[in-house]
Subunit: 190 residues, 2 copies
DNA sequence: TGCATTCACCTAAAGCTTTTAGGCAAATGC
DNA sequence: GCATTTGCCTAAAAGCTTTAGGTGAATGCA
């Protein structure tokens, strides 16, 4: 009997892999136990409950995303940085659909505050230094960019942009062009 | 024994109400049966299975949203129409969070094609007649608007925009200003 | 009126998942 | 070499999903 193989971290990683394979919604404590060839009840020494497992997977995904974003932004600015950050989200969602879905998991306020979510906001704000925005407009722009990245990726993954022409890569490029133009020419407050 | 109270439509409506109360993820065939004071198995004459129930709720939500959008767009154009449509999504999500989540439910391709989803795309395209965009750019813009509306509402509902200043209403207004400016001044293809 | 059928819901049952409680044996500490 | 802790196990309760097969009321028809 191999002992000591179980830990919150390993269970979380296994859960994340499972999510990518079968979808975040289908992640189940039972299935994770099965993958470790261990009885379900054994996992409850390492996890509070099913919700806890999902929260941990969500936090893992947010960390991974933030790490990728930080690396992508290093040494870039302006539109180059904008494109790099946008592609981090899109690529991550394609490579890890289950984890990406997990990143959208509704976290409790305290968990959210302690999560890598704040790193994301900080990085997006840093990106905006390449543009000339006043303070309140920076916040608006951070929220707009977050909305577009998240919204676009969700809709594309969910098949929202059917399989009609033009292809989504073309749109993605043009949307980033448009966002860059918008940020360079942000409308003054009326 | 009141007979004939059960039907796919009534079960779907009850499911939608349940979703708004406890969240779309928590919608369960058992709970719906409980609300009709009927045994669970009885619902299976009206619904194929649990997934079927969720799909029906999703389709209902898409219809309701499309109806609201159609009404909001009637007689409006330009920025007025843009704002009206955007507010339809945001308001619907606030009034019916469970239904709104349902509207994001991943539909099978045929179900999606037959859903009100296509009405949404058509209406957004109609909205763009108030702006001067070439054909391919119209499609890009439709997708951008869909992304922003969906992304913003999701993040706001999910608490993504913490409770920091400035408030989200202010951002919402400024984001719509920015989108209007962008559409009036869409960047030419390089 | 009387019989057959259909309809709407029910009982039973099997198979999952979640979660708690208590137990045993291997690893570790002294 | 013994005590404790650690790590996983068995047992069991409870809830959700789904299928199979029934029953009784309503309906259709001779």
């Amino acid at each position: 009997m191999a002992r000591g193989r179980l830990s919150p971290e390993r269970l979380t990683r296994a859960g994340a892999e499972l999510a990518d394979e079968v979808g975040f919604e289908q992640v189940t404590v039972s299935e994770v136990a099965r993958r470790f060839d261990v009885k379900v009840a054994s996992l409850y020494s390492h996890l509070k409950n099913s919700h806890d497992l999902k929260t941990r997977i969500a936090l893992l995904a947010l960390e991974e995303l933030a790490d990728r974003a930080a690396e992508a932004l290093a040494g870039r600015s302006g539109k180059d940085a904008l494109t790099a950050l946008a592609n981090v989200y899109r690529d991550y969602a394609r490579e890890h659909p289950g984890r990406y879905a997990a990143a959208q998991f509704r976290l409790a306020p305290e968990a959210a505050a302690a999560s890598a979510g704040v790193r994301h906001a900080r990085m997006t704000r840093a990106l905006l230094r390449g543009y000339d925005l006043t303070e309140p407009d920076q916040t608006h722009a951070v929220r707009l960019l977050g909305s577009v990245f998240h919204g676009y990726v969700s809709l594309e993954m969910g098949g929202g942009f059917s399989h009609s022409a033009p292809d989504t890569q073309e749109t993605w490029t043009r949307v980033l062009d448009a966002l860059d133009a918008l940020l360079r020419n942000w409308p003054r407050t009326p």
